[in-house]
């Protein structure tokens, strides 16, 4: 069986740790102090020569306190798998379909802004460019 069923994950590698550390404006000494390893070992880790146990790896993730977008090197990226999949699907749509989705999102936002309490009736969705009801 091949591992192709699951969405691909980002591999944590030494060079990414270096980038993230620099992004957080931490020196090797500062980061190594916070995760409890020697500075020389962190240096080896960033060069891909040093592997550590789960406890240390989790400390690294915790110190960086990342939004997933930062981890994936994107300027803006959603953290929820469901949202990431939604963005991926959106990017595959045609221009008209994208506009329709954007209209629907605007409608849902407006609906939530206008009706924070349950007693107000919900505005009705009249559909996108095609006029088709979506919900």
């Amino acid at each position: 069986m091949s591992p192709s069923h699951s969405p691909r994950k980002l591999n944590l590698v030494g060079s990414r740790i270096r980038e993230l550390r620099k992004g957080k404006h931490l020196t090797q000494t500062e980061l190594s102090d916070r995760i409890g390893i020697a500075q020389s070992d962190l240096s080896r880790m960033e060069q891909g020569e040093y592997k550590v146990g789960l406890d240390t790896l989790f400390k690294i993730l915790q110190v960086f306190d990342l939004k997933m977008g930062e981890f994936f090197g994107e300027t803006e990226s959603p953290s929820e798998p469901e949202t990431r999949e939604l963005v991926k699907d959106f990017r595959e749509l045609s221009g008209d379909a994208r506009r329709e989705v954007r209209d629907f999102v605007r409608f849902k936002k407006m609906q939530e802004q206008e009706q924070p309490q349950e007693e107000k009736p919900a505005p009705e969705w009249t559909g996108g460019p095609s006029g088709e009801k979506t919900s």
Partner: protein, 300 residues
């Protein structure tokens, strides 16, 4: 050999078998009995020997309620004896268990030097295995591999009675090869180790081989095999209270299920792992999206 010595040697042999079978409480009782007898007979050699053996058992049990300075005293008092070399070896193990790797390295090297000088093949082999483990902890995989190789050769040359220790060193050697991406070399070694341990009924030593096989099969994307070995490692880790094995098994199983496209099972494993880190609530979400397979060291 006097009757007294024969009796104590029998106690040691029985205690050692109890350790191999994972019955540490029984081993500890036997060593306590032997220590009391040696003291009552004022046999200082045997007292030192049982002091070392008892400490080894406590270390295996993750207990620290023994006097480490007593071991150092034996080393200083009898530097050129078997007991001195053994005390150095046990001291190294004690420091390793406490995470004092620099000190562990010093005492392991001392044990190796002394056991080599006295041509104590078994202790030379186990000291090499310990030194290699310390190298592995520092991610020096090539250096560890060479030391494990020598340890295996030394221990295998000692015949059947030592095959359990040889099997443990063989598994460690196999893991080194797997971590160095020479899975095809490492896999047969780990299988051989597991087979020997199984035949000896040394279940408590089978957790790491099972974990290593899971790791290797994840690397090879042989996911059904990875699942089988991961479940076995998890069971053994829980049975013998090995938290490091349990956590690594949860992680590897989660990666396996994730790669298999079985998100529910993957999530269960991530949740089980995350439960060990209550101050890191976002951990599970990270693990769903980030693979640590390239940076993980199962022996660190």
């Amino acid at each position: 050999m006097s009757d007294r010595r024969k009796h104590l040697e029998f106690l040691r042999k029985t205690a050692r078998e109890a350790i191999w079978a994972g019955d540490y409480e029984r081993a500890l009782t036997l060593y306590d009995d032997g220590l009391s007898l040696a003291r009552s007979w004022k046999d200082h050699d045997l007292e030192d020997l049982f002091t070392c053996n008892r400490a080894t058992t406590l270390i295996e049990m993750d207990r620290r309620d023994f006097d480490l300075s007593k071991l150092k005293e034996i080393l200083l008092r009898s530097p050129s004896s078997y007991n001195g070399a053994l005390a150095a070896y046990v001291s190294a193990n004690a420091h390793e268990a406490r995470g004092e790797y620099g000190r562990a390295l010093f005492y392991a090297q001392t044990a190796l030097t002394k056991s080599r000088e006295m041509r104590l093949e078994e202790l030379t082999g186990t000291s090499l295995n310990l030194l290699a483990n310390l190298e592995l902890h520092e991610s020096r995989f090539e250096a560890a591999r060479d030391l494990f190789q020598e340890a295996v050769e030394r221990l295998e040359s000692q015949g059947e009675s030592l095959s359990r220790q040889a099997a443990v060193a063989t598994d460690n050697l196999g893991y080194c090869h797997i971590a160095l991406d020479r899975v095809e070399v490492g896999l047969p070694l780990v299988h051989r180790s597991l087979s020997v341990l199984d035949s000896l009924g040394a279940r408590q030593a089978m957790d790491y081989p099972a974990l290593d096989l899971c790791f290797a099969h994840v690397k090879l994307a042989r996911l059904d095999e990875a699942e089988n070995w991961g479940i076995r490692a998890l069971g053994l880790g829980k049975e013998f209270g090995r938290q490091d094995v349990v956590k690594n098994a949860h992680y590897l199983l989660a990666e396996t299920y994730s790669d298999m496209g079985r998100p529910t099972e993957a999530n269960e494993q991530y949740e089980a792992l995350a439960s060990y880190y209550p101050d890191f609530p976002a951990l599970k979400h990270y693990l769903h999206q980030i693979s640590l397979m390239e940076v993980i060291n199962l022996r660190a």
